[in-house]
Every structure is written in structure tokens, then in C-alpha cells.
């Protein structure tokens, strides 16, 4: 993968930075950013948008620092499969509060909101309004 993860400022030339598995397509997302979607892999697209100066990459950094053994790009049943336990969930909530300034209520601590990075990002967007 190219340095900087899945974010690219300009679409690369065709054939460069090909992922090892499956085909991929480049989709324009905004005028100078692209979203990478891998068709055959189960990679979740990282939403490259700005939410009050915060991007999903910051959330991913938090998750990967807390649990470096978990592939947050692929997993979609983090709570149901027992990958994240209650300690992990409250640690994530504490980080969201301390680092991103997002306050999560007790009623939001349900498996649906923590089963995947995408679901967690949707929660953060909703709470940030």
C-alpha cells in the first residue's frame, strides 16, 4: 500500500499501487480526494470527509492504538464475535471523549454501534451533529 494509507490527494496512474488481492476501482469523492474501494476484498471504505476538523483516520488511529491486534478495516462483528469486550468499549469511549471531544451516552453502548469501525464512525458523526 502507498504511504499515507488509503488516502490519496490525486488519482494515481492506472496500474500503480495495485493491491495484492482482487481488483480495485478508483472512485472520485471530492474534487481533490479519492475513495479507494476494493471490490473482492472486504475492506470497508474509509470515509474521507471532514467533520469539524476530524476525519475517520483519527478514529482509526485511536482504535489501532488501543487494539493493534485487530484489523478494524475488515472486521464487521467486533462485539458479536467477542473481539472487543466491555473494557475495550469503555476505553474507546474514554478516548473519544479525551482525544476527539465526543461524549457518548450509556444508551449508545450497544453492540450495533461498536461492531465495526464504520458503525462507530456513524455514531461519532451523529453525536457531533
Amino acid at each position: 500500500m502507498a504511504p499515507g494509507g488509503t488516502l490519496f490527494r490525486f488519482p494515481p496512474h492506472f496500474g500503480e499501487n495495485v493491491l495484492p488481492h482482487g481488483s480495485h476501482e478508483w472512485l472520485p469523492y471530492s474534487k481533490d480526494e479519492v475513495r479507494l474501494k476494493t471490490v473482492n476484498n472486504n475492506l470497508q471504505p474509509r470515509v474521507i470527509d471532514e467533520l469539524g476538523g476530524m476525519t475517520m483516520d483519527e478514529l482509526m488511529d485511536i482504535l489501532e492504538a488501543l487494539r493493534p491486534d485487530v484489523d478494524f478495516d475488515r472486521e464487521e462483528h467486533l462485539v458479536e464475535d467477542g473481539i472487543l469486550d466491555s473494557f475495550d468499549i469503555v476505553s474507546i469511549v474514554a478516548e473519544l471523549d479525551g482525544v476527539l471531544g465526543v461524549r457518548v451516552g450509556a444508551e449508545e453502548l450497544v453492540p450495533e454501534n461498536f461492531n465495526s469501525a464504520r458503525a462507530l464512525w456513524a455514531l461519532v458523526r451523529r453525536l457531533r451533529g
Binding site: 491486534d69 469486550d85 466491555s86 473494557f87 468499549i89 469503555v90 476505553s91 469511549v93 474514554a94 478516548e95 471523549d97 479525551g98 461524549r103 457518548v104 451516552g105 450509556a106 444508551e107 453502548l109
Partner: protein, 461 residues
């Protein structure tokens, strides 16, 4: 209730009438039976259950009418927990009003869910009464949640011979575990209570086996009875002796209590303003290590509450703190374990998994033994005595009893391990198994004069 001589007759009568009735009448019949069983336990038990139901029902309707009114919720919580505290101090351990520790938690969980807006308040008083008083969960839970349990209790169950026979088979299995294994183990456990050294070590193992057979036997009776009525209650155990750590043990043992504590104490504490502020301040001063301070404090408070739920004597507080300490130590040592396993590659090997299960089994034996000694210093003395030599007294069971216990325990764990395969047996084989259970209970069961078969250990909490 399950262990009264009249229960099989009453339950049989209930089953004969239940499936002939329409939905509303089914609910009414279940509520009538539930009130009848509470009344048989005593007017105090019935009165407290009705009072708790009225408090929770009224508070939920008020919160539905005036959403966001924290005062209503706090009043409801104060009233319920005051009732529980009053009962703990007014009644001796083991003689509490029936089910109060369980239905109060169930009612409080319902009220908090209404306050959070995750469910609407139940308008029907009788429907709510049935949710709180449903008789199979009267003595030992499971502690249900309103959204799932109310759907199950909505009535309109049609007769399904497979459900009824599965329910009755499960009840027979529960009676076997309770009357043949658990109540037989009560004799050596009582004999070993004053022992030190190897006698104490044996006590911890036998008490754990007794507690497991007693509690899971009661659960099998409760879930079996509900299933025979076409109602699915939640599982409370998931093969806890396969746990490889204390944290995993508490995800497999008394699952509904662990879930209640997590959702209504641990999570609200972790997201509370004071603890979040503490977390931010600790992060600034202590860096990475400070990040977990508020979570650990919330964990400590939750385990204290869990200990207090079991009993108000100091040993239960020690019990809660011991569990908390082992869980938190595992958390802190997790990176070290990960590096160790990366270096030596033992994780995933069968022998290492067996070692982890054995380690957790013996550790939990020692922690569970805390239940038996109200004075924590007495318990600590016993622990220290493990390195000393001592004698084991006469345990009060003959050779035949030990053979029955050995076979019963092997059957108990074997059945749990082979659960999936047993479910695939032919109906004839299953009924043969049930017949063996029933005969075993009648011939080898510990009931009648000289036995205290009428009570469950957890019903005393």
C-alpha cells in the same frame, strides 16, 4: 417451588389447560400461577413483589409521560434499592423473601431502559406484573430484559410437542443435577467447613462442584419449565469450566447478572461526568497509564456492587475485590502475555489451553470459597493453611455415594461438553436418557427427611 412435592402435579395441570386457552387467558393463567407460588412462599414475599411491581410500573409510566425527568428515575432506584437493603438487614442470609434480589434488578433495568428511551413503558398492569413475577424465574432468575421477555410472554402459544418434550427433558436434567449431585455434595461440604490445609483445598473443589450443579440444575428447571410453556428464557451459563481467564469465566457464569451489572452500573459509571473528567486529568498527568484509571475505578465499584448483591457481610466485599483484582491484573499483563506467546508460540496449543482452563478452575475455586466464611480473616487463614499439612475428617458419605457422585459429575460435564451431539440423538434415545434421569432422581435423589433439598444456594442471595 420446583422442589416441592406438589410442583410436578401443579405444573402438569397447568400444561394440560394452558395450550387450550387463547393468548390473553394464557397470560392470565401464568400470572395466576405466579401469584399463587409467591403466596405459598409467604405473604411477605408476595407483598414485596407486588410493591416492587407497583413502584416500577408507576415510575415507568411517569417517565413516559414526562421524559427526561431524572428525579423520577432516582426516586424509583432509591425505593427499590432501599427495599433490597432493608430485606438484607432484616432477614438472615438464606431466608430472604423469595426472588427479591432477582425481580428488583429486573424491574430497575426496565425503568432505566424506559428512562433512556430504548423501550416504551408498559401500559398494561397485569402484563407488567407477569413480566416481573413469571414463576420459573422466581427463585434464581435469569434476570430478563423487558424488550425480549415481554415478547416471549405475550401469549398465543400453540402446542408444539417438540418444545414441550424438550422443556420436560431439560427439567429432568435439572432435577438430576440438583437432587443427585448437588444435594449429595452438601454433606462433605458441611463436614469440611472447619478444615485447614488439604481439607480446605478439597472443600474448595467440592463446593464449586456443588454450586455449579445446584445453580445450573435450578436454571435447567427454570428454562425447561418455561420452554414447556413455549417461552424462551435467556441462558445463564455457557460451560464456565472451559474459561481460560477470570474475565472469560464471568462471561460464562451467571451471564444475565454480569450483563445487568455491565449495562446498568459499569457503563453508566464509565460515561459519567466525574469519571470522564478524572480520565482526562489522569491522561494529562500520567500519560498512557492514566488512560485506564477511570475504567479501573468503575470496574472496582461494579465488583463491589456485585459482591453486595450476593450479601452484605465483609466476605462478599472481599469476594468482589478479589475478582476485580484478577480481572484488572490480567488486563495490565495482556501486553506481556502477548509478547511471551509471540516468543514461545504456546497460545493455541491444546495443552496450553488445558493448562489455562485448569488454572482458572482452581483459582475460581479459591475465590468462590469466600462465600462460606463470613469473616474474611478466617478465609485468609484458610488460604494460608494450604501450604501446611493436615488431616481430612470423615466426610459423611459411603462408598456408594462417592461412586454416584463420580458418575453424576462425569455425566454432568460430559453432557455439557457433548451438548451439540446429544441434541442430534434420535427422539427414542433422548426419551431413554430422560427415563434414566427420572429413575436416577427417584432412586438416588437426596430428598426426604434429613436432607435440605427444598432450597437452592443462589435463592438465598
Amino acid at each position: 417451588m420446583f422442589l416441592c412435592y406438589s410442583f410436578p402435579l401443579l405444573f402438569g395441570l397447568l400444561l394440560m389447560v394452558y395450550y387450550r386457552l387463547p393468548a390473553m387467558a394464557q397470560r392470565g393463567l401464568l400470572l395466576g400461577f405466579s401469584i399463587f407460588f409467591y403466596a405459598r412462599a409467604g405473604w411477605v414475599s408476595l407483598g414485596l413483589m407486588v410493591l416492587a411491581a407497583a413502584i416500577c410500573y408507576g415510575a415507568a409510566l411517569a417517565m413516559d409521560r414526562w421524559p427526561g425527568r431524572r428525579g423520577i428515575l432516582w426516586s424509583c432506584l432509591a425505593a427499590n434499592f432501599s427495599l433490597l437493603a432493608l430485606c438484607r438487614f432484616c432477614f438472615p442470609a438464606g431466608a430472604m423473601p423469595v426472588g427479591i434480589s432477582f425481580y428488583l434488578l429486573q424491574g430497575v433495568g426496565y425503568c432505566v431502559d424506559v428512562y433512556r428511551g430504548t423501550i416504551r413503558a408498559e401500559r398494561g398492569a397485569l402484563r407488567f406484573g407477569l413480566f416481573l413475577s413469571f414463576f420459573p424465574q422466581m427463585e434464581q432468575g435469569p434476570i430478563g430484559k423487558y424488550d425480549t421477555l415481554s415478547r416471549e410472554l405475550s401469549g398465543g402459544r400453540k402446542y408444539d410437542p417438540e418444545q414441550v418434550s424438550a422443556g420436560l427433558a431439560r427439567m429432568a436434567w435439572g432435577y438430576f443435577k440438583k437432587l443427585v449431585v448437588a444435594d449429595r455434595l452438601a454433606v462433605p461440604v458441611a463436614a469440611l467447613k472447619d478444615c485447614y490445609g488439604p481439607g480446605f483445598a478439597l472443600l474448595t473443589v467440592l463446593y464449586t462442584l456443588r454450586l455449579y450443579a445446584d445453580f445450573t440444575g435450578g436454571m435447567d428447571m427454570a428454562l425447561g419449565a418455561a420452554r414447556a410453556l413455549g417461552i424462551r428464557l435467556e441462558e445463564n451459563f455457557d460451560r464456565p469450566f472451559l474459561s481460560k481467564s477470570v474475565a472469560e469465566y464471568w462471561r460464562r457464569w451467571h451471564i444475565t447478572l454480569g450483563r445487568w451489572m455491565k449495562e446498568y452500573i459499569f457503563y453508566p459509571l464509565c460515561v459519567s461526568t466525574p469519571l470522564l473528567r478524572l480520565g482526562r486529568a489522569a491522561r494529562k498527568r500520567l500519560g498512557t497509564r492514566g488512560k485506564r484509571l477511570s475504567v479501573y475505578i468503575a470496574s472496582g465499584i461494579t465488583w463491589l456492587a456485585t459482591g453486595l448483591w450476593h450479601g452484605v457481610t465483609p466476605n462478599f466485599l472481599l469476594w468482589g475485590m478479589l475478582n476485580c483484582a484478577f480481572v484488572l491484573i490480567s488486563q495490565e499483563l495482556a501486553p506481556l502475555y502477548a509478547r511471551f506467546h509471540k516468543r514461545f508460540g504456546w497460545k493455541g496449543k491444546r495443552w496450553y489451553a488445558t493448562f489455562e482452563m485448569a488454572r482458572t478452575f482452581f483459582l475460581m475455586n479459591l475465590i468462590r470459597a469466600c462465600d462460606l466464611f463470613p469473616n474474611p480473616l478466617d478465609y485468609v487463614n484458610r488460604l494460608m493453611s494450604l501450604v501446611r499439612w493436615g488431616t481430612i475428617p470423615e466426610l459423611g458419605l459411603g462408598a456408594g455415594d462417592w461412586w454416584i457422585l463420580a458418575l453424576g459429575t462425569a455425566l454432568m460435564f460430559g453432557a455439557e461438553a457433548c451438548r451439540e451431539r446429544l441434541l442430534q440423538l434420535t427422539p427414542d434415545a433422548k426419551w431413554a436418557g430422560v427415563a434414566v434421569m427420572v429413575v436416577a432422581v427417584l432412586v438416588f435423589g437426596c430428598y426426604g427427611p434429613g436432607y435440605d433439598a427444598g432450597s437452592f444456594i443462589y435463592a438465598g442471595f
